[in-house]
C-alpha cells in the first residue's frame, strides 16, 4: 500500500512548498546537503540533521522534452523535465516552465518559481534566468 502523503520525512518540505519556500536538509555531522528529506544522512549516517531554506538558484544538470507522457500528463505534452543542481549543492527533479524563447539546455541557470500543478497543488518549478 502507498504511504500517505505528506509523511514524517516529507511534511516539513511540503509545508515549505505551500508557503513558496524551497527547503532542504543539512547534516550537522558531515555538513552534506541532503535531498530528498531523510531521517539519516546518506553520506555519513548521522541522525543530527537540520532544515535550511534554499536560494532556489541552480543549474540544469540534465533535461528532456517529454512527448509520450504518463496518462495523467498526456494533454500537457510537450514539456521539459530536468534535474537541477541547486547552489546549495544538492540535486532535485523539476519541470522547466515559462521559458518563452529562452534556450533550455544543460548548464543553463534557473531559479525556482511556485505554481499550481494540474491538481491545484502549489509546486516548485524552475524557470531560466538571464
Amino acid at each position: 500500500m502507498p504511504e500517505e502523503l505528506p509523511d514524517p520525512d516529507s511534511i516539513h518540505y511540503w509545508d515549505g512548498v505551500s508557503n513558496s519556500e524551497l527547503r532542504y536538509q543539512l547534516c550537522n555531522g558531515c555538513k552534506s546537503s541532503i535531498f530528498y528529506p531523510r531521517s539519516i544522512c546518506p553520506a555519513c549516517g548521522s541522525s543530527d540533521i537540520c532544515w535550511k531554506v534554499s536560494s532556489g538558484l541552480g543549474k540544469i544538470y540534465a533535461c528532456t522534452t517529454v512527448y509520450r507522457a504518463p496518462p495523467k500528463y498526456k494533454d500537457k505534452v510537450p514539456y521539459i523535465v530536468a534535474l537541477i543542481d541547486l547552489d546549495e549543492d544538492y540535486r532535485m527533479m523539476s519541470e522547466i516552465i515559462n521559458f518563452g524563447e529562452k534556450d533550455v539546455s544543460v548548464g543553463k541557470q534557473v531559479k525556482v518559481i511556485f505554481r499550481d500543478d494540474i491538481d491545484g497543488k502549489l509546486m516548485p518549478y524552475f524557470t531560466p534566468i538571464d
Partner: protein, 381 residues
Amino acid sequence: MTLKKSCAIAGVAESRLGVVPDSTVLTLQAEAMVAALAEAGLEKTDVDAVFSSGNWGRLPQLQISEYLGIQPSYSDNTSVGGASFEFHLGHAAAAIKAGLCKVAVILYGSTQRSRRERRIFEAHADLGYQYETPYGLPIPVGAYALAASRHMAQYGTKPEQLAELAVSTREWAKLNPAAYRREQLTIEDVLSSEMIASPLHRLDCCLVTDGGGCVVVVSPEIAKTIPKAPIWLLGQGESHSHAQISEMPDLTISPAKESGKRAFKMAGINHDQLDVVEIYDSFTITVLLTLESLGFCKPGTSGDFVSNARTAPGGEFPLNTNGGGLSYCHPGQYGIFLLIESVRQLRNECGERQVPNATLALASGTGGVLSSNSTCILGLE
C-alpha cells in the same frame, strides 16, 4: 575466497517469445524450465534452489515455486530490475560454493505484451518518488533520456551514434530466427521515428514483448555429468547506486563501473580476451554508458566506439549477438537472455550469428533506471 569456477551453467532455454496470448507468467516459466532441464539432462526432482524476479504477483517467488512443485532448500527473489538474473547467478554460485544447494534454476516470465502489464513504475508516488512523480517524467524512458542528454552535453555524443547502435543490433537480429524485429533498419529510420523523450526516439527504445527464460546452474561435481559442455562462471560482480534517477550520483557512470571491476578481477582476464559481449540494451544509451563504465572505452568515447558498424556482424566487437532487447525480445526484465545467448555462443550453437571460436563471454545486466548492474564473465574452461 572466490566464486571463480564454483558453478557451471548446464542448461538454458527460452519459452515462446514475442506475442504469446495463450499463456501466463507461470506457463512461460514452466515451459522454459522444462526445456532447460532437458538440455541439462536433469529432472525437476534434482532442483534444490529457485531464483526468480518479477513484480507480477503478490509473492511471486512462492507462487512460481508452488506452481512448479518445488520446495527449495535455497531460495532467492532478489529483484533489482532487468539485471536480477546476473545477480542470481552470482548468488547461486555463492550458495553452491557454501554447499547449500547443487542444482539451481533461475527463472523469468512475462506476458506484458499480451496483457498490457506495463504500468509497473507509474503507480509509485510515495516515499522517495513523491519528489519526482508529480513532474510527469515517463519511467523508465525519461530517466534514460536524462542520462543521454547529460552524456551529449558533457561529451558531444550524437543522436546518430545512438542510432547506429540500434542498427548494428538489428543486423544481428536478422541472423536470429527467434528475433521479433528482423526487417531492414537504417540510422535515418531511427532518427525519423517518433520522439518519445528527447533525445530518445522510439527506435532507441527496447521492444515490449512476452517471453520467459530459464538458466540451470549446477555444482562442479554435477557439471562433470551433464550432456553438453558446462559453461563456467569465471567472474561476477554486482552493485546498485540508487532507485530513482535524481539520486544517481553521475548520470554518465553506471554501477557497472563497480561490478565490472570485481568481475574482471575475479576472472583474472583483460577486456581484449573476450570474444563476445552481451550488454543490456533497454535503450541505446544504456549500452553506451555501460561500455564506458565497464572500461571497454574511455569516458565519453562510447559514441565513437560503436561507430562504423564496429559492433555489427563482421565488426571487430561482437555485441548483443541475439539482436538484443532492441530487436530480439524484451519482456520487461531482459537480463536472463544475456546469459542464455552467452552460453549458446560459447557452445557454438548460434548458426549464422555464431562468433567464431568464442571461448570467453561477458554478460552485463542493468536494472531500474541505470540503478543496478551485475556483470558475469563466462567461459568454456
